[in-house]
Amino acid sequence: MGNGFFTDTTLCIGCKACEVACKQWNQLPADGYEFSGNSYDNTMALGGTTWRHVAFIEQTGGPETPPSLNKWLMMSDVCKHCTYAGCMEACPTGAIVRNEFDDVYIQPDVCNGCGYCVPSCPFGVVDLIAHADYTDGRHFESDGRNHDDATQTTGGIAGKCTLCYDRQKVGFTPACAKACPTESIQFGDVDELKARAKKRVAQLEARGVQSYLYGVDSDSSVGDLNAFFLLTERPGAYNLPERPVLPSTHQPAGYTSAALAAAALALVGFVIFRA
């Protein structure tokens, strides 16, 4: 098996070091200074140039709820690097590939920005990168880089987590996992991570904490996730689909209905025109 992430949300302290490390290593432009008002989350979502996103879920049940049941959940979201990846199947140029580490990687010099991967990701991860994100240039002025070059190579294409392909190439841990101070983000061989994660669920269970693994032993059409999560709430609370569906599973029904309609009309047409 390949390499992936195990993100244990019970260990996340919401420091966002993963977000910062990712932006810095991958030279991604800043997200701006929008204040969301939604707990401590001003990042709000993964995007073409935002490859880690820490979600903050504050659950206070109101005055009747005992304080022990009030929860503050934090979860560092990331591209799932699915076993059966919707983005990769949709890509018409072959720009999106599975690399030697079993991770889903967008080749930036091949992608032509058709945008079909964007609605084809059941997790809403991949997005197109606007040219404006790079021509804005603030990020690049400080280090003296020529941001025209950055626009040339990076604007107008799809972007998402590479699972630090370049770092893995030289045997480094991906930036987010390296920066995580609590080992909430663990990087390694997916099978080893899964075994560790199952032990963690049992350990939490012994302490009376309910948890489960999202993306392990899954019966969803996207298969297991190379970047999986230990969660303590329903997936919807973290803005994850309850049961992701691989978009290409809709193709047989789609092609069949198109073929039936075409055959029926061709028959009617033949009767009208030739009979």
């Binding site: 939604n38 709000m44 979600a55 659950q59 049941l69 199947e89 949709a90 890509c91 018409p92 140029t93 072959g94 091949v110 992608c111 032509n112 920005g113 058709c114 945008g115 079909y116 964007v118 609605p119 084809s120 990701c121 604007g155 107008g156 294409i157 669920v201 269970e205 009376g208 904490v209 309910q210 948890s211 489960y212 899954s218 019966d219 969803s220 329903r234 919807g236 609370a237 973290y238 803005n239 689909p241 309850e242 049961r243 569906v245 978009p247 290409s248 809709h250 193709q251 029904a253 789609g254 092609y255 209905s257 198109a258 073929a259 309609a261 075409a262 009309l265 047409g269 033949f270 025109f273």
Partner: protein, 328 residues
């Protein structure tokens, strides 16, 4: 020790039960994340809408070119369908290249043939369609004296006709498969409807466009009657599928059928684009203005349908509750 629950056990309708003691979590658990979108909005703009519309008319014209009884009444129809199919096949790629984030890389589409990707299939389908379309148009031009006489022999009718019809049907239908094979709830739930009504709308649009061309140039009365009849059948099938899709999609269909967008779809596609032209096509008045009016309404209705589909997909992506429960 119990094993952690897998995704299938997390039925959104059931109260969540954890792995340890079976006690449900507090009921105040938020079902969404601040109502923020779960999915990303498709970026497709007017170029893709125009292409979906043009592709329908183009594919339908391919079918008409094969159906037309060239040795009988439909000489002019065969001519207009061939020219129109070729003209659209020549302009569509420009529109598609324009919509790319990196248009200068459009050739990258051709470095791979990928059956899993509907868009890759569409690119090759479009190239495939343009070959018989170009040959048939060149042969027609040879016959019409526009090109040298030898060109009339480059497109054997028995070969080129069926190829145009088959690939035309693919072109008219694959765009519906393309958008259905996504995670967008309103598109995914329509996998049995969107491709089918795309074909119907394409055939109806092709009948309308060719009837309009013949009305402005020349065409036999019998050809007009045939086009009207086929357009009637295709339009009514499209209407039936649109209504069926509304019922089938239910709550997920709101972005398409609800609000102002739904009203526009009902007014311009269902009533003005299908109802009125169908009436015009059955009344026994044969006049140029009638054909032109019915054609314009049908074509505009087809455009509004494509626009509604794409725009509805964007709003559907914004609905986290719909996205959390993805249609199987």
């Amino acid at each position: 020790m119990s094993t952690p629950p897998d995704l299938s056990q997390l039925n959104p309708d059931a109260s969540f039960r954890g792995a340890s003691n079976g006690e449900p979590l507090p009921a105040h658990a938020s079902p969404t994340y601040y109502d923020r979108p779960l999915l990303k909005r498709p970026h497709w703009g007017w170029e893709v809408i125009v292409y979906l519309f043009m592709g329908g008319v183009m594919g339908g014209s391919g079918i008409l070119a094969a159906l037309a009884d060239e040795d009988g009444d439909d000489r002019e129809l065969a001519r207009s369908a061939r020219y129109l199919a070729f003209a659209l096949a020549a302009t569509c790629p420009a529109v598609l290249v324009k919509h790319l984030g990196r248009p200068e890389r459009f050739l990258h589409m051709m470095r791979i043939v990928k059956f899993k990707s509907v868009m890759s299939m569409g690119v090759w389908g479009l190239i495939g369609f343009s070959l018989p379309a170009a040959a048939a148009a060149a042969a027609q031009a040879g016959e019409d004296g526009v090109l040298p006489d030898v060109f009339r022999y480059i497109a054997p009718r028995r070969l080129v006709g069926p190829a145009q019809a088959l690939l035309g049907a693919f072109i008219a239908g694959y765009t519906g498969v393309l958008i259905s094979a996504t995670a967008i709830p309103v598109w995914a739930i329509g996998k049995r409807f969107i491709p089918a009504f795309s074909v119907c709308s394409g055939v109806a649009g092709a009948c309308a466009a060719n009837a309009a061309i013949l009305a402005l140039t020349d065409g036999s009365e019998r050809t007009f009657r045939k086009l009207e009849r086929l357009e009637l059948v295709a339009s009514l099938a499209e209407l039936g599928l649109l209504l069926g899709f509304e019922r089938h999609a239910g709550e997920l269909g709101k972005p398409m059928y609800g609000g102002e967008r739904g009203a526009k779809l009902r007014t311009w596609t269902m009533i003005a684009g299908i109802g009125v032209p169908s009436l015009l096509n059955v009344i026994p008045v044969h006049a140029r203005w009638k054909t032109l009016l019915a054609s314009a309404l049908t074509l505009f209705g087809g455009y509004v349908l494509r626009e509604t589909l794409i725009e509805a997909g964007k709003d559907s992506a914004d609905d986290p509750k719909a996205a959390a429960r993805q249609p199987e």
